[in-house]
């Protein structure tokens, strides 16, 4: 089509904007709060549909549905044991490593439309597309460079200079370059806890994932290191979708655009973060946020 030239892509006409907005509002129609008023929601990156998960006979996630917005930060909050970690680890099929676990439902990853939970999906490929950062820094017993290059090698990159370039880009994106550029060949264990955690973020970013999962990434860090990670998480949303579990309500408020509140394995409330914190729709959410339990 002649009209689909570059010029129109750069400056879409009012008509096209309206069509796109309508499509987005439609996609979020199950979540009227998000798409209400003048707020135009972002595209949905991952759509969790009626997801349930069992450890043996124990059901830890109960029929959860939430949309994860593209290139935004979504926070999972809730009291200890409510299933935040369990839900997060469904996204990269981490539970597959253990016996006696069972998923039900779907997590549809857009735009490819892949259902992460589908048996036919190769979890290893999935994990190259969806990175993860753990509760405690877990660098490998290797050099700083090799830690970050690890995923690239798994993904099949071989060229020395290409790997070096990507490693540098990832370490820069993790705001660690200035501190380690002169000692890339030194063991990762020589770094401080906060630096190790940023190294783990670089490791997760190196393969250019579409989405990164964070499981309470600052729970083992001091306030200064925590602040750096929070800043970093926010800067990441320029390029990736972020799903973060946190125990810390202030943290959720500071870093996230959307918040999901879980309780006893169920999703109680999902909305824009300001809404959840300022004007929660459910009494349970309100009680949790005001610190009355958890």
């Amino acid at each position: 089509m002649v009209t689909a030239g570059l010029g129109t892509m750069d400056r879409p006409g009012a008509e096209q904007v309206e069509v796109r907005e309508a499509a987005l509002r439609e996609a979020w129609s199950a979540w009227p709060g998000v798409a209400s008023g003048r707020h135009v929601p972002p595209p949905i990156k991952a759509d969790v549909r009626s997801l349930s998960f069992w450890y043996g006979k124990v059901q830890a996630v109960k029929n959860v549905s939430i949309p994860i917005a593209d290139r935004r930060v979504t926070a999972l909050i809730g009291p200890s044991g409510c299933g935040k970690t369990t839900l997060l680890r469904c996204f990269n099929r981490m539970h597959d490593l253990y016996r006696n676990t069972r998923y039900e439902g779907q997590i549809v990853l857009h735009p490819s439309g892949t259902d992460i939970i589908d048996r036919g999906v190769n979890p290893i490929e999935m994990r190259m597309r969806i990175g993860m950062v753990f509760q405690k820094p877990n660098p490998f017993p290797k050099s700083i460079f090799e830690n970050v290059a690890f995923g690239l090698r798994m993904k099949g990159f071989r060229g020395r200079s290409e790997i070096a370039d990507r490693v540098e880009a990832a370490i820069r994106a993790a705001a660690l370059w200035d501190e380690v550029s002169d000692r890339l060949r030194k063991p990762a264990y020589d770094l401080s806890g906060g630096q190790q955690q940023r190294l783990c973020i670089a490791r997760a970013l190196a393969t250019e994932p579409e989405m990164v999962l964070f499981d309470e990434p600052t729970s083992a860090l001091d306030p200064v290191a925590t602040a750096r990670i929070e800043e970093l998480v926010q800067s990441l949303k320029e390029r990736v979708t972020v799903l973060i579990v946190t125990h810390n309500m202030q943290q959720a408020g500071r870093v996230s655009d959307f918040t999901a509140f879980m309780y006893l394995g169920e999703m109680v409330e999902f909305d824009r973060t300001e809404k959840v914190f300022q004007n929660p729709g459910k009494q349970l959410t309100e009680q949790y946020i005001s610190g009355r339990f958890g």
Binding site: N92, M94, L97, I124, E125, R127, M128, G131, M132, F134, K136, N138, P139, F140, P141, K142, F150, G151, M154, K155, Y189, C200, R203, A204, A206, T207
Partner: protein, 328 residues
């Protein structure tokens, strides 16, 4: 609430009469005495093991001194022949050391790779049930008397090898070394497996999370993370190989290697008979050397050499462990 015992006891005298308080005090006194006595007994046990070690070192050195006075340290270390039973005896330790070196290398060539692979499989791949059956079976290998291994090498492995190399002599270091390697496998695999299983799951998850598969995770993450423990396992394997006696005495022949200074590498060929330091020591102890003779003292000089070598390995192992110690 269950109260700690001490707290309960301390609480009693307060509400009871004076004699009870006395009883409690004497009870405390008795306990202190028993405590001290136990400490003494344990200390004595620890001290006795040190005393025995020191005693052994003392005897090794004191019996070697007259030997070195007569032969000279330089001759001992540089002479190319070890012929204590000849009319003109020569006492160069190198042929025996070479015998020990060659059999040890052959054994390690079997035990280290096999032990490591078995450890990786047991720790990372075998289902728990299977692992719990395989481990004790494997450890049985280490419980077989070594003289049995010696005859296994002589009567089974060597004839098998002779089908491949018809020239192989009946007594040879290759067969002995291979069988010694089999014997050492469980020492290497068991300790290595313990070290690998101690690696936290979090580290494995980190590898899987960036797209690692099981093999990559096992070999490139878990194995290096367990390196300090694995190094310790290797050092134990080496010590066992160096100190092994019966297998080499039975299956490798007891004639010391003949060193040809023109062709020094010939001594490294395992397809020939050879005597190790340990094999020499048993062969002498079976013979009729008299206490106080120089041939008798040669045993202690050889033993001292072995002791120094083993000590060296243990120190190396200690340093390795420190070098690779990982804080997970």
């Amino acid at each position: 609430m269950v109260q700690p015992r001490d707290a309960a006891q301390a609480a009693k005298p307060v509400e009871r009469s004076v004699p009870r308080a006395d009883a409690a005090a004497s009870m405390r006194f008795r306990r202190a005495v028993v405590d001290r006595a136990m400490q003494g007994v344990l200390g004595l046990a620890a001290a006795s093991s040190i005393a025995v070690t020191l005693g052994i070192v003392y005897i090794l050195i004191s019996e070697s001194v007259p030997f070195f006075r007569a032969v000279g340290l330089k001759t001992f270390l540089t002479d190319t022949m070890w012929t204590p039973q000849f009319a003109v005896p020569r006492y160069g330790i190198v042929p025996l050391l070479m015998g020990t070196l060659v059999t040890t290398m052959v054994a390690l060539a079997v035990a280290l790779p096999a032990g490591s692979i078995i450890a990786i499989w047991l720790s990372e791949f075998a289902p728990a049930r299977l692992r719990e059956t395989v481990k004790p079976v494997l450890e049985l290998l280490a419980a077989v008397p070594t003289v049995v291994y010696g005859y296994f090498a002589l009567l089974f492995v060597t004839p098998l090898l002779q089908r491949l190399w018809p020239d192989l002599p009946t007594f040879n270091m290759l067969g002995a070394g291979l069988v010694m390697g089999i014997m050492i496998i469980p020492y290497v695999s068991s300790l290595s497996e313990d070290a690998m299983r101690a690696v936290p799951m979090l580290l494995r998850e980190g590898s899987f999370a960036v797209g690692g598969n099981k093999i990559v995770t096992a070999t490139r993450v878990v194995f290096p993370a367990a390196l300090s423990g694995i190094a310790a396992a290797y050092v134990l394997g080496i010590s066992r190989a160096v100190g092994e006696t019966m297998i080499v005495a039975v299956a490798a022949g007891q004639q010391p290697l003949i060193l040809d200074p023109a062709r020094p590498l010939d001594a490294m060929n395992p397809g020939q008979p050879g005597a190790t330091i340990t094999a020499f020591i048993v062969s002498v102890s079976l013979g009729d050397v008299q206490h106080g003779e120089i041939g008798y003292q040669a045993i202690f000089a050889a033993g001292l050499t072995l002791f120094v070598a083993t000590l060296g390995f243990n120190v190396a192992g200690y340093l390795l462990r420190k070098r690779f110690r990982q804080a997970y």
